[in-house]
Symmetry: C4
Subunit: 285 residues, 4 copies
C-alpha cells in the first residue's frame, strides 16, 4: 500500500490512534455511539418512546447511515477487507447497523432492535487501542493464567448449586413455590451468590437450615476467586515491573508510573508506548 494514497490516509485515521486526526475520529465515534445508545434507550421508555417516535426514528436512521458509511470505509481502506469482515469487531460493526435495515424492510422484526445495543461493545475497541492497553493486558493475562482455577471453581459452584437445589426441592416442595428442580437450582444460585431476591424463600425450619448452609458456603467460597485473581495479579504485576528496562543503565524494577530511572535518573520510555499495541495488527494489519 503506497504511503501517500488516500486509502492509506484513511487507514491511519480510522484504524490508527497516534495521529491527531485519528484521535478526533475516535472521539467523534464514541460520541456517535453513545448518542445512538441514548436514542435506543429513550425509545423504550413508555412516556417518551411513542410520543417522540418520529424524531427518534429520524435520529436512528441518521446514526445507522453514519455507521454504514464508516463500515464501508473500513472495508475500503483495510488492507485485508475479508479478514476485517470476519473478525470479532467486524461482525459487531455489521450487527450494529443490520437491525435497522431489517426493521425497515420487515417491520415485524422490530424486536431485533435490541441487537443494536451491541454497539456498546464498539467502545471497547476504541478504548483498548489507546492508553488503557497496558493495564487491560495485565488484567487479561491474570485471568488467562487463572483460567484453570476459575474453571474448577465454577464446576464446584455448579455441583453445589445442583445438590442444594435438589435438597430444597425435596424439603420444601411445590407448596412453598419450589415447583421444579430448575426452579430450585435458580433459588440456589440466587442464594449462593448472596443476591437473595426473596421471591422464593424456605418456610420450614429444616429448609431454613439448608438455606443457612447455602448462604454461609456462598459467603466463604467467594473468597476463592478473589484469592486466585489477587495472587495471579500480584505475580503478573511483579513480572511486569521486570519488563520495563532503563534505556541508559538497563536496570529494571521500575514503578508503573515512574518517568525517570531510579538508579541513574535518565528518562524512561512513555508508559503508554512501552509495550507494542499487539492487538492493533490483529484487527486490520
Amino acid at each position: 500500500m503506497p504511503r501517500n494514497s488516500l486509502k492509506h490516509h484513511l487507514y491511519v485515521i480510522i484504524f490508527g490512534t497516534h495521529t491527531r486526526a485519528g484521535r478526533i475520529f475516535d472521539i467523534a465515534l464514541i460520541i456517535a455511539i453513545i448518542s445512538s445508545l441514548v436514542v435506543l434507550v429513550l425509545e423504550s421508555i413508555p412516556s417518551i418512546g411513542p410520543k417522540w417516535a418520529s424524531v427518534l426514528r429520524y435520529f436512528e436512521y441518521s446514526f445507522t447511515l453514519l455507521f454504514t458509511l464508516e463500515y464501508i470505509l473500513r472495508l475500503y481502506c483495510s488492507p485485508k477487507p475479508k479478514a476485517y469482515a470476519k473478525s470479532f469487531y467486524g461482525v459487531v460493526d455489521l450487527l450494529a447497523i443490520l437491525p435497522t435495515y431489517l426493521a425497515f424492510f420487515f417491520p415485524s422484526a422490530s424486536f431485533m432492535g435490541v441487537i443494536r445495543l451491541l454497539r456498546v461493545m464498539r467502545i471497547f475497541r476504541i478504548l483498548k487501542l489507546v492508553r488503557y492497553l497496558q493495564d487491560s493486558n495485565i488484567l487479561l493475562r491474570s485471568l488467562l493464567m487463572a483460567r484453570r482455577k476459575i474453571f474448577i471453581f465454577f464446576s464446584t459452584v455448579a455441583i453445589l448449586v445442583t445438590i442444594f437445589g435438589a435438597l430444597i426441592y425435596v424439603i420444601e416442595g411445590p407448596e412453598h413455590g419450589f415447583t421444579s428442580i430448575p426452579q430450585s437450582i435458580y433459588w440456589a444460585i440466587v442464594t449462593i451468590t448472596t443476591v437473595g431476591y426473596g421471591d422464593l424463600v424456605p418456610k420450614t425450619p429444616f429448609g431454613q437450615a439448608i438455606a443457612s448452609m447455602t448462604m454461609l458456603l456462598g459467603y466463604s467460597i467467594l473468597a476463592v476467586p478473589t484469592g486466585i485473581i489477587t495472587a495471579e495479579l500480584n505475580q503478573e504485576m511483579n513480572s511486569h515491573r521486570q519488563l520495563v528496562k532503563c534505556p541508559n543503565c538497563s536496570k529494571s524494577g521500575h514503578e508503573a508510573d515512574a518517568t525517570f530511572c531510579k538508579h541513574c535518573g535518565s528518562e524512561l520510555a512513555d508508559p503508554d508506548q512501552r509495550v507494542v499495541p499487539v492487538d492493533e495488527t490483529q484487527n486490520a494489519p
Copy 2:
C-alpha cells in the same frame, strides 16, 4: 496382575486416563452422567414430567443399566474390589444406581430419586484425574493450610449470629415475625451473609439499628476469609514455582505456564505431567 490380561486392559481403560481408549471412556461417561441428570431435571418440571413420563422412565432405566454395568466392571477389574467399594467414589457410584432399583420394587420410595443427583459428583472424579489436577491441588492445599484460621472465622461468625439473633428476638419479638430464637438466628445469617431475602425485616428503629450493625459487620468480616485464602494461595503458588526444576540446569522458579527453562532454554516437562497424580492410586491401586 498380568500386564496382558483382559482385566488389566479394562483397568487401564476404566481407571486410567493416559491412553486414548481411557480418554474416550471418560468423555463417554461424562456425557452419560450429564444426560441422566438432564432426564432427572426434566422429570421434575410440572409441564414436562407427567406428559413424557414413560419416555423419561425408559431413558432413566437405560442409564441405570449402563451405570450398573460400569459399576460391575469397576468391581471386576479393580485389583482391590473391596477397597474400591468402600472408597468415597465407590459409595457414590452405588448411590447413583440404587434408588432406581428401590423405586422399581417399592414405588412409594420414589422421593429418594433425588439421591440420583449425586451422580453429579462422579464428574469430579473424572475431572481431577485429568488435566486440572495440579491447579486443583494448589487450591486444596491452600484451604488445608488455612483450615485453622477458617475454623476460627466460622466460630466467630456462629457466635456473632447467635448474639445478634437473640438481640433482634428480644427487640422485635413475635409480632414482627421473629417467632423464635432459631428463626432469629436464621434472620441473622441471612443478614450477615448479605443475602437479605426480605422475608424477615426489622420494623422498629432500634431493630433497624441492630440490623445495620449486623450488615456492616458481615460486610467487613467478609474480608477476613478472602485475606486468609489469598495469603495462603500466594505462599502456595510461590513455593510451587520452586518445585518445578529444569531437567538441564536444575534451576527452579519457572512460571506456571512456562514450556522452556528461562535460564538455559531447554524444554521443561509438560505442566500436566509435572506432578504425579497421587489420587489415582488411592482410588484403585
Copy 3:
C-alpha cells in the same frame, strides 16, 4: 501458693490446659455450655417451649447451679480473685448465671433470660487457650495493624451512607416509604452492604439512579477492607515465619505446618507450643 495444695491442683485443672484433667474439664465445660444454649433456644420455640416448660426449667436450674459452682471455684482457686472477677471473662461468667437467679426472685424480669446467651462467649476462652492460639493471634495482630485503615474505611462508609440516605430522602420522600432521614440512612446501609432486603425500594427513575450509584459504590469499596486485611495478613505471615527458628541450626523461614527443619532435618518445636500463651496469665495469674 504452695505447689501441692488443693487450691493449686484446682487451679491447674480449671485454668490450665496442659494436664489431662485440665483438658477433660475443658471438654466437659464446652458440652455443658452448648447444652445450656440448646435449652435456651428450645425454650423460645412456640411449639416446644410452653409444652416442655417444666422440664426445660429443671435443666436450666441444673446448669445454673453447675456454673455457679464453677464460678465459686474459680474465685476460690485464683491467686488474685478480685482481678479475675473484674476481668472480661469474669464478668461474662457472672452474667451467665445472674439472670436465672433474678428471674427466680423477680418473675417479671424473664426477658433478661436472653443475656444467658452470652454463655456462648465462654467457648471463646476455652478455644483460645488450646491449640488455635497461634493462628488466632496472627488474625488479631493483622486486624490491630490495620486498625487505622479500617477506621478510615468506616468513617468513609458512614459519611457516604449519610449523604446517599439524605439524597434518597429528598428524592423519594415519605410517599415511597422514606419517612425520615434515619430510615433513609438505614436504606443506604442495606443497599451499600449489598444486603438488599427490598422493604424500602426507590420508585422514581431518579431515585433508582441514586440507588444504582450506591450499589456500585458499595460493590467496589468492598474491595478496600479486603485489600487491607490481605496485605496485612501477608506481611504478618511472612514476619511470623521468620520467628520460628530451628533449635539446631538456628535458621528461620519454616512453613507453618513444618515439623522438621528444612535445612538440617532436626525436629522443630511443636507448633502449639512455639509461642507462649500470653493470655493465660492475663486471666488468672
Copy 4:
C-alpha cells in the same frame, strides 16, 4: 505575616493541629458538627420534628451562627483568603451555612436544608490533618495507582449491565415489570452487585437463566477490583516501608509501628510526624 500578631495566633489555632489550643479547637468543632447533624436528623423524624420544631430551629440557628463566625475567622486569618474561599473545603464550609439563611429569607426553599448534611464532609478535613494522614495517604495512592484498572473494570460492568438489561427487557417484557430499558438496566445493576431487592424478578424460565448468568458473573467479577486494590496496596505498603529511614544508621525497611531502629536501636521519628502533612499548605498556606 508577623509571628506574634493576633492573625497568626488565630491561624495556628484554626488551621493548625500541633498546638494544644489547635487540638481543643478541632475537638470542639467536631462536636459542634455532629450535634448540628443530630438536630438535622431529628427534624426529619415525623414523631419528633413537628413537636419540637421551635427548639430544633433555635439550635439550628445557633450552630449556623457559630459556623458563620468560624467561616469569617477562617477568611480573616488565612494568608490567602481567596484561595481558601475557592478551595474544596472553603466551598463546603459555605454550603454548610448558606441553606439556613436562604430558608430564613425564602421559606419555600426549606427542602434545600438537606444540603446542610454536607457538613459531614467537614469532619474529613479535621481527621486528615491529624494522625490518620499517613494511612489515608497509602489508601489514596493505591487507588490512584489503580485508577486505570478501576476505570476498565467499571467500563466492563457498564457494558455488561447494558447487555443483560436489554436481554431481560426483551425476554420478560413490560408484563413482568420490565417496562423500559433504563428500568431493566436498573434491575441488572441490582442483580450484578448482588443487592437483589426483589422488586423486579424474572418469572419465565429463560429470564431466570439470564438472571442466573448475571448473578454468577457479578459474583465472580467482584474478585477483580479486590485483586487490583490488594495488589496495589501490597506494593504501596512495601515501598512505604522503604521510605522511613533511621536518623542514626540511615537504614530503611522498618515496620509501620516500629519506634526503634531494628538495626542500631536508636529511636525513630514519631510515626505521625514522619511524613509532612502536605495538605495543610494546600488549604491555607
